[in-house]
Symmetry: C2
Subunit: 253 residues, 2 copies
DNA sequence: TTATCAAAAATAATCGATAATCTGTCAATT
DNA sequence: AATTGACAGATTATCGATTATTTTTGATAA
C-alpha cells in the first residue's frame, strides 16, 4: 500500500516531472541530460516521489508493487533504491528490504543545524574564490526565483518554484570549488526540501522570503562574506524553526 | 585489468578478510553482524579492496571480470557498487559503468579541510552532550590504539592498527548525537584512510602520533572543548599535509 | 596519411524465473 | 495461557539469459 497511488506514467518519461534535476536546470534543455538508463531515470522518479511526499515516510517499499507502479524490472529498481540510501531518502535492512526514510523533529533540527554550518562555509569559500561570472549566475537565479509565480492552488507552480529555489541555493554555493562539500550541501537540501514540501502549507506571514533571498544574493555579489553568510544563516534558521513547528503539530497529534 | 589480481576467495567468505568492518570491529565476533546477503558482504569486500589500494584509483570496473573475481552474480555486484557511490569510493556514468574513484591532491586537500571542520564540530557537540560513559569509551579506544603493535613488515598489524585508529576517531565523535554529521564524518574518514593506506609508507619522524591522540582524548575526557578541538584540528591538518606531500611525489613524477 | 563509416566485438543494462528468507497462522504441547 | 514448531503465503535476493549501448576494428575514400 502507499505505492498504488504513485502516478503510473507510461512512456519513457514526460518532461514535466523532469524539471528539478540537480546540476542546474538550465542544462535540462539539452537533448540528453545523460540520464539514459532506466535505473538513472528511476532514481529521479523515486527521489521526486519521496521528496514530494507521495511515498509516505517510514513506509516499506514493496518491490513487487513498486515494480508494477513504475513499470520496471527488479534489477534497476533495486539499483535505484540503493543509490538513494546515501541521500538519506531510503533506508535498507538485509532481507527486509527498503523503506522510505522516516521523518522526525530531531532529524529536521540536525538538517537545519548542518545546513547553517555547511552552507555558510561553502558560501564563504565561493565569495573568496568563485570566478566573476558567478555573481551574474547568482543574480540571474535570484531573478528567476523572484519572478516565478507561486500559486497555492496550482501545484505545478509550487513545484516550479521549488526547483528554482533549489537552483538559487545551489548556484550560491556552486562557486566554492569544493565538490565534496557541495555534495553534502545538496544532500541536506534534498532532505530539507522533503520537509518543506510535505509539511509546509505556506510560509508564515511575518517573513518576506524574497527579501531574504535578495539580501543574500546582494551580499554575495558584493563579495561581502560576513554579511551574506549572516543573512544566509538567518534564512536557514528561520525556515528550520518554521518547519519544525509545523512538523511538531502534525507528527505528535 | 586490475581486477584479475584481486584475491579470488572461494566459498562463502573467510573470516580473515572480514576483519576491518566499519561499525567497530569488537562487534565482528558476534554471530551475524546483519550482513547476510551477498550484496551487503560485497559492499564491504569492495570497500576494503578500494580503500586498501588493491583496486587502482580511476580504473574502470569491468563487471564481467569483477563478477568472476568475486564469484558473484551481476545483480548483487551492481547493487553493491551503487551503494558505494555516495561514499565517494566509486563513480558511475550511464552506459559506461562504474569506476574506482580517482585520487588527486585537491581531493585530499578538501577531505582534510572538511575533516577539520566537521570533526571539530562533532567533537564539540560530543563534549557538550555525550553521556558520562562516552569518556570511558574514548579512553578505552585510545588505550587499545596505543598498545597495538604496528610493524611495517607485517601487513596484518598495519591493518589492525588502521581499524583501531578508525575506531578511535569514530568513538570520539560518536557522542555528538548527530547521526547525519556522524555519517559525513565516517565518509570523510573512509576517503582519508584510502589515501593513507595507499600513499603513506610511515608517519614522518617529527611527529609522535600517539601523543597527539592522547592529548585529544585527555581534552575530551576532561570536557575541555577548546583544547580538544584545537588538538584534533592540528592532528588532522598535520596528517593531511604529510599525506599531500607523499601524494604529490607519487602522482606527478 | 587522415577521416569516415559500417560491421564486429566487448561491455553494460535489463528482464523473467528461481532460490532463499521472512512473517503470520494455527495446532500441539507444556 | 503461553510457548513452540511447522506450514503456507508473501517478499526479498540471486541467477542465467537476453537486449541495448558503446567501443574497437578494419576497409574505403578523400
Amino acid at each position: 500500500m502507499g505505492l498504488a497511488d504513485v502516478p503510473k506514467n507510461v512512456g519513457p518519461l514526460e518532461l514535466a516531472s523532469d524539471a528539478p534535476v540537480s546540476p542546474g536546470s538550465w542544462q535540462a534543455a539539452l537533448v540528453d541530460d545523460g540520464k539514459n538508463t532506466i535505473a538513472s531515470q528511476l532514481v529521479e522518479r523515486l527521489r521526486e516521489a519521496i521528496v514530494s511526499g507521495q511515498l509516505e515516510a517510514g513506509a516499506r517499499i514493496n518491490l513487487l508493487r513498486a515494480r508494477q507502479a513504475f513499470s520496471v524490472s527488479l534489477s534497476p529498481l533495486r539499483e535505484a533504491l540503493a543509490r538513494l540510501i546515501p541521500d538519506g531518502l531510503v533506508t535498507f535492512e538485509d532481507n527486509r528490504g527498503y523503506r522510505v526514510a522516516p521523518v522526525s523533529v530531531s532529524d529536521l533540527r540536525e538538517i537545519t543545524r548542518l545546513r547553517e554550518e555547511f552552507e555558510t562555509l561553502a558560501l564563504r569559500q565561493a565569495i573568496a574564490n568563485a570566478p566573476p561570472e558567478w555573481e551574474g549566475d547568482v543574480t540571474r537565479a535570484l531573478h528567476r526565483l523572484n519572478t516565478a509565480e507561486r500559486n497555492a492552488a496550482a501545484p505545478s507552480t509550487l513545484e516550479h518554484w521549488e526547483a528554482l529555489h533549489r537552483d538559487f541555493h545551489l548556484t550560491l554555493l556552486a562557486g566554492c570549488g569544493m565538490p565534496l562539500l557541495l555534495g553534502f550541501c545538496r544532500t541536506l537540501l534534498n532532505l530539507n526540501d522533503r520537509y518543506r514540501r510535505s509539511f509546509l502549507v505556506r510560509t508564515s506571514g511575518d517573513r518576506n522570503v524574497s527579501v531574504e533571498h535578495s539580501e543574500i544574493a546582494q551580499g554575495a555579489a558584493a563579495r561581502d562574506a560576513d554579511f551574506a553568510c549572516a543573512r544566509l544563516r538567518e534564512h536557514i534558521h528561520r525556515t528550520g524553526s518554521n518547519l519544525a513547528s509545523h512538523l511538531a503539530d502534525r507528527i505528535a497529534p
